[in-house]
């Protein structure tokens, strides 16, 4: 499959999708769709999306999908996976859902090493509600609730989610940060996250740096610059915890 065409697991009937032009969500979902295609696991996947712009993906895929509540996608997927372990559970959410209202779920699911894949889309803002500050908003970033820019004294420092999770990730967990500026690389991380679950090794938590030109109020050039420069400077890309890293031989055998 070429990189340009739609992943098989995309649902053509609901394309073009509902995200704004220039939005990163579509690219994260493309990377995910490619990973699902490569692993040929569409029949087993349960895709859960949060409230936030992620909810616009409720009919995005040819995958069984449940749109849940803000911050609650992780426990929902945990419940499904615990009850029916043959499912491949994916919890897809924004940085507000993952790191603010639902952070206790993320932390505890990691502690328990739940066999699920958590994808957190970091667009440095609460997009769906109109661009308020998120835990990930950068210092100085102007949002609707930090009109003068985010101040560390008042609002604290931006949260590095994967680093936090990596600090206590148990044996078998996979933690990475990718970006929509590198879709193939992001897709490879997602594939590994899924495979980690297929191998019953542990939780996978993958953050995807993403764009929100609508709330950032940026043109195409500035959007991309913000993503590739400001965001990536503060949020470095890479695999933070990987069961593959321990074993060089296994590193190559990504496909089952």
């Amino acid at each position: 499959m070429s990189e340009q065409s739609m992943p098989l697991s995309w649902r053509t009937e609901t394309k073009p999708h509902k995200f704004c032009p220039g939005c990163g969500h579509g690219l994260v979902l493309k990377a995910l769709g490619m990973a699902v295609d490569r692993l040929k696991i569409a029949e087993r996947v349960l895709f859960g999306c949060d409230i936030g712009c992620s909810l616009l993906s409720w009919d995005f895929f040819n995958l069984d999908t449940v749109q849940t509540h803000h911050g609650r996608t992780v426990p929902f997927i945990v419940g499904a996976k615990r009850a029916r372990p043959h499912l491949v559970g994916i919890a897809y959410m924004g940085d507000g859902g993952g790191y603010a209202i639902g952070v206790q779920h993320l932390v505890n699911a990691t502690m328990r090493n739940e066999r699920i894949l958590v994808i957190i889309v970091n667009n440095t803002t609460y997009a769906m509600t109109g661009g308020q500050m998120a835990p990930t908003s950068l210092l100085g970033q102007k949002t609707e609730t930090t009109p003068g820019g985010r101040e560390p004294d008042q609002e604290g420092f931006p949260l590095r989610g994967p680093e936090m999770i990596a600090s206590f990730a148990p044996e078998g967990a996979y933690v990475a940060r990718g970006s929509v500026s590198q879709v193939q690389r992001l897709s490879r991380y997602l594939e590994r996250g899924l495979e980690n679950q297929l191998r019953d090794r542990g939780i996978s938590v993958i953050e995807a740096l993403s764009t929100c030109p609508t709330n950032w109020r940026t043109n195409a050039v500035d959007t991309w610059k913000y993503l590739e420069k400001e965001m990536t400077d503060y949020y470095p890309l890479g695999e933070l915890v990987s069961p593959w890293k321990k074993n060089k031989a296994e590193e190559e055998v990504v496909r089952l």
């Binding site: 040819n62 999908t65 929902f76």
Partner: protein, 388 residues
């Protein structure tokens, strides 16, 4: 096939009981045996007194009967895990109390919107806030109307361990038949007290526990062999929501008459009807019996479902005798439900007396005393409830 046939059938057939078993046990233990007998596969829960022993007993018994257990990080997580498990095709449930019941409102509202047959046992404790871990009847409104919605739930209020057993099993049957979240509203006294109960296998009694089925993780490749299952609870415009919600509300109202249940007694020539639910109904029943032995014309009415409320039945009773005494361990939550149930119809003839003891137990002696005082003309009609 990737979708291996799961061990669901096997699990449901794992019998926890054969024949009838007479036992003497705590209310929380009764809940666990009922859930096992009803074929519950998974409990997701978070500790809170006075329901802790539900989790304690379940975590010991579950492995023996091939059932699952997970202690989650909070009640939100427990509730959403229950929803995930049910949508994946497993019969799941939880139990909670007080502030936990507050947190459960979020998953309950999702269950209402998406017709997910979630079962929740609530053992009421004192409120508001942390209050006591012991007892109250203050979670009536919370269990019925707690969500951001229309109260599309079924709420059973058991008055004995036997009913705790029967109604917990029935809650599973009701939830899976009507696909509304179903709650069993017990209390700390019932949870922590021991009394005799007869356990049985519901299938031997012909109770129809509808089979579970997955709403996701269906057979066949989605988009190739079949349509993908897409479920949501968020809508773009008012009309879109209304189109989805209206049939749910209609279904609820259509089901209401066959769901509502009550117990009533000593209604011949009655001059005062005492209304109570749950454990207070026991005190009322014995008080009424005692008064009748002395030829004092008192009767009782006990709603077993608080939602849907047995409207017609209470109206019938109150048409025959418009003087009633509402007794509850809360400040008028049941009294307000009665007001709603009878509507404007009996408004003018109704003489409502109240005995409210929020967070306190109520004995038969207190009820006897109140009833006598009312019949002797020593009590004022309660004006505060009229100002609903």
């Amino acid at each position: 096939m990737i979708n291996q046939p799961v061990t669901q059938e096997e699990k449901l057939l794992t019998r926890s009981l054969e024949g009838e078993k007479r036992a003497f046990m705590y209310g929380n233990e009764v809940v666990v045996w009922a859930a096992l007998a009803a074929g519950a596969e998974f409990l997701f829960g978070y500790p809170i007194t006075p329901q802790n022993e539900v989790m304690h007993y379940w975590s010991r018994l579950a492995p023996r009967y091939g059932r699952g257990f997970l202690q989650t990080e909070d009640e939100l997580s427990a509730g959403f895990a229950v929803l995930g498990g049910i949508m994946a095709g497993a019969r799941c449930f939880s139990a909670t109390a007080g502030p936990g019941t507050v947190l459960f409102q979020e998953p309950l509202s999702m269950a209402e919107m998406m017709r997910i047959p979630m079962v929740l046992v609530v053992q009421q404790r004192g409120g508001p806030s942390t209050a006591t871990v012991i007892y109250s009847q203050q979670e009536v409104f919370l269990t019925i109307f707690g969500g951001n919605g229309e109260g599309l739930r079924v709420v059973y209020s058991p008055g004995s361990h036997q009913e705790m057993y029967d109604l917990t099993i029935k809650a599973f049957a009701t939830a899976w038949e009507y696909r509304f979240p179903t709650l069993v509203l017990g209390d700390g006294y019932q949870a922590k007290m021991r009394e005799p109960v007869t356990l049985y296998d519901p299938r031997e009694k012909g109770i129809d526990l509808k089979p579970t089925f997955p709403m996701v993780g269906l057979k066949g490749v989605p988009g190739v062999d079949r349509e993908p299952a897409h479920w949501r609870n968020a809508f773009s415009v008012e009309e879109e929501l209304y189109e989805v919600l209206k049939p749910i509300i209609d279904d609820f109202h259509r089901a209401a008459p066959s769901l509502s249940e009550k117990e009533e007694g000593f209604l011949e020539g009655v001059e005062l009807i005492v209304v109570a639910h749950g454990i207070v109904g026991r005190s009322v029943r014995s008080a009424v019996r005692e008064l009748r032995e002395k030829d004092i014309p008192v009767g009782f009415f006990r709603p077993i479902t608080l939602r849907p409320f047995p409207d017609k039945d209470i109206k019938n009773v109150l048409t025959a005798c418009s003087r009633l005494l509402v007794v509850e361990s809360a400040q008028g939550q049941l009294a307000k439900l009665i007001r709603i149930a009878i509507g404007g119809e009996l408004e003018h003839s109704l003489k409502m007396y109240t005995y409210f003891r929020p967070g306190l137990g109520i004995t038969a002696e207190e009820v006897v005393q109140e009833a006598r005082a009312i019949l002797n003309g020593e009590r004022e009609k309660d004006a505060s409830v009229a100002l609903l």
